[in-house]
């Protein structure tokens, strides 16, 4: 099976931004994503945002350019306002044309 290299971006975010984060992912060029639920702790207080529901963990396999665009968008619109954390890792996928 031939594979190609792509970026996996994983975003953990407080519940209220789920909808708009997904809209922004798509606007940046992501063609697919998966969303799960997590709880956790970070710089923001632990239970403070839990009233609005569990955090979302969104992951999306994308090209380098799209990954970069998403990170830029997060930095511009999210990092300073919301409890959002993100990381990139390099992955191999089959059917490279789909991502």
């Amino acid at each position: 099976m031939n594979t190609v290299t792509r970026q996996l971006i994983t975003i953990v975010a407080e519940a209220v931004v789920e909808r708009r984060l997904i809209d922004d992912l798509k606007a940046c060029g992501a063609r697919g994503y998966s969303v799960g639920h997590v709880s956790g702790e970070g710089a923001t207080g632990r239970h403070l945002l839990a009233l609005n529901g569990p955090s979302v963990r969104i992951e999306s396999v994308v090209t380098d350019e799209v990954a970069q665009a998403i990170l830029d968008r997060l930095a511009r619109d999210y990092f300073e306002r919301f409890a959002v954390v993100a990381w990139l890792s390099t992955v191999q996928v089959a059917r490279g044309d789909r991502f």
């Binding site: 407080e14 209220v16 931004v17 708009r20 207080g45 239970h47 403070l48 945002l49 009233l51 609005n52 306002r81 919301f82």
Partner: protein
């Protein structure tokens, strides 16, 4: 009102469940409901309240409801302003944070509403059927007013309002009202075992969870400061009095007046936190959630409700 009324209120199963659960949480007992039950109970309670209201409307008609609806909208404007001014002047709280907190006092707590209705029902005190509709109106107006006070360029105002209006709590409430109103009393009989019979028991379960949530917030009171703690009692007392006066002025029954007072006094901790988070992300949840859920909610449940009833009895 005398001490007996407070004790009586305290020993009613829903309030007792809340207090026991709050104490248990402070003692670190694990009296948390299974995660999945919380949203189930809250949807159920809203739908049941709506059905009850809609059914009462089907009997009585909407003719008398216009004045109360307008009054509710008015309270939705006045109560967050009262809160905002007090928070700024006496609480020494910044504009954005004050607006964020005020939004919670402008909006309402559906659970507090539910407890007062259950209390009145258990005493046999009648009240108007359309009060559930007022709940829906107040839930929205107060948030909108308060957010307007502090919006800046980054505020996604329309989005926040849209999300509140079409959000789960308004939807279930209105859905219930429409179904109850169209079906009417007789056709609803087969669903009574669920929507009437289980009501108080479900409320008890829900308050078991609320006790644990309030206990968590109560722990943050120290960080939030004593000024906010005092205001989180003063604001509901003031707004509750305004609500009772308005209710009596527009000719509501004793029960209806007590409910309107409770609505005005109560602070939202479901719709408002989400809306404020979206519209005013820079307002600190450590302040607004602590005030509304950690102090005002327990205060209203244990002391406020018997007080507002006594006030309504005095005024009507």
């Amino acid at each position: 009102m005398d001490g007996a009324a407070i004790v009586d209120n305290l020993l009613s199963p829903p309030v007792l469940a809340f207090v026991v659960s709050l104490l248990a949480a402070l003692l670190r007992f694990d009296l948390r409901l299974p995660e999945a039950l919380y949203p189930i109970l809250s949807s159920y309670l809203l739908l049941a309240i709506g059905l009850k209201g809609g059914r009462a409307l089907a009997d009585s008609g909407l003719a008398d409801a216009w004045a109360p609806l307008l009054a509710a909208a008015g309270l939705g404007v006045v109560t967050p302003l009262v809160a905002f001014v007090l928070l700024r002047a006496l609480g020494r709280i910044g504009r954005t944070d004050a607006a964020g907190i005020a939004a919670h006092y402008g909006s309402v707590s559906a659970v507090t509403f539910t407890v007062i209705v259950a209390t009145l029902d258990s005493r046999g005190t009648a009240h108007e059927g359309y009060m559930a509709g007022l709940l829906a109106v107040l839930e929205v107006v107060g948030i909108v007013v308060a957010i307007s006070l502090a919006r800046d360029s980054s505020t996604r105002f329309g989005r926040a309002v849209g999300e509140v209006v079409r959000g789960r709590s308004i939807s279930f409430l209105l859905g219930g009202i429409v179904i109850g109103w169209m079906a009417g009393g007789e056709r609803l009989a087969p669903v009574d075992p669920v929507f009437t019979g289980l009501f108080t028991g479900a409320l008890v379960l829900f308050l078991v969870e609320m006790g644990a949530l309030a206990a968590e917030r109560l722990r943050d009171v120290r960080t939030a400061g004593w000024r906010l703690a005092v205001l989180a009692v003063a604001i509901p007392l003031l707004n509750g009095t305004v609500g009772a006066l308005v209710g009596a002025a527009i000719g509501l029954s004793t029960g209806g007046t007590a409910i309107l007072a409770t609505l005005a006094a109560s602070a939202s901790y479901i719709a408002a936190p989400a809306a404020v988070r979206i519209a005013l992300p820079k307002a600190s949840p450590g302040l607004y959630v602590t005030a509304s859920l950690g102090i005002t909610f327990p205060f209203n449940l244990v002391v406020g409700i018997p007080l507002y009833i006594a006030l309504a009895e005095a005024l009507t």
